[in-house]
Subunit: 157 residues, 2 copies
């Protein structure tokens, strides 16, 4: 995860404008996800406008981080599973977030995600957000590779 | 829902800096929620930087809208239930979002939320996002009034 290494997003979707993970969205969260063995990890530093109240991260931003990071975990897994050079374009079918404790916004948070189920065109991903050494939020979501004709198909840029 | 009428957020938490619903967060979504009979409604217009890909709203932003709007629905309900003049400060315990179809980002979206279960200090809220005349996303979440000592207590501004 050095500054020189390209993230999944930078490598496979550099022109994406997604609010959560698009490298080309200057007002977005621009998470950078990196495979690390069986999991995918990311470190991300909140800014003041991402808070719910002073000092604590917004639950919506928390969900956005876990949703996008999990979506990339699914895309990376489906790419490997099918022996593709590029990940299929995936969209979120559903995600559920548990906010277990307040998330301090003054420090970098750590995301970690893993595949828990998968089929040919979809994966179920479990993920967590760790801050201050504690698991503050967890998420479980289902992510689906879209087919030609879906509005998202080949729109990752 | 005229421009003159104050939203729940403007009435009860005008200094809140929450990313999703704080009137004082200039970079936030600034949703404006209004009780309407048994439900709470909001209309919200996306901007380009809220998209997942061109023309479609981000799933994380969608979850943020439904989370914050539902939280205010819970706070409003708990206020009425207890006969209070101001809503208790509520936080999200968990929320689950189903993204049923792509959400067009070029038009105003409509949020609607209702209480489906409640106790003295918490409520379960179901909500939906309608765009283009169709239910595009639904959400179910649990929202809890915090007590003195919680970092969020009396921090709505």
């Amino acid at each position: 995860m050095s500054g020189d290494e390209k993230s999944l997003q930078e490598r496979h979707a550099p022109a994406s404008i997604c609010f959560g993970c698009g490298p080309a969205n200057e007002r977005g969260l621009r998470i950078r996800s990196f495979p690390q063995g069986d999991v995918v990890v990311a470190d991300w530093k909140p800014e003041a406008w991402h808070e719910a109240f002073p000092g604590m991260l917004s639950g919506g931003i928390t969900g956005t981080l876990l949703d996008c990071h999990s979506n990339w975990t699914a895309a990376w897994h489906l790419m490997k599973q099918a022996g593709l050079a590029e990940p299929p374009c995936c969209v979120t079918a559903e995600y559920a977030v548990q906010l277990r404790r307040p998330i301090p916004s003054g420090e970098t948070v750590h995301l970690e995600a893993r595949v828990v189920e998968s089929k040919e065109d979809r994966a179920v991903i479990e993920s967590s957000l760790v801050a201050g050494g504690k698991v503050c939020a967890t998420c479980r979501g289902t992510f689906v590779a879209v087919k030609p004709g879906h509005p998202a198909y080949h729109r990752w840029g």
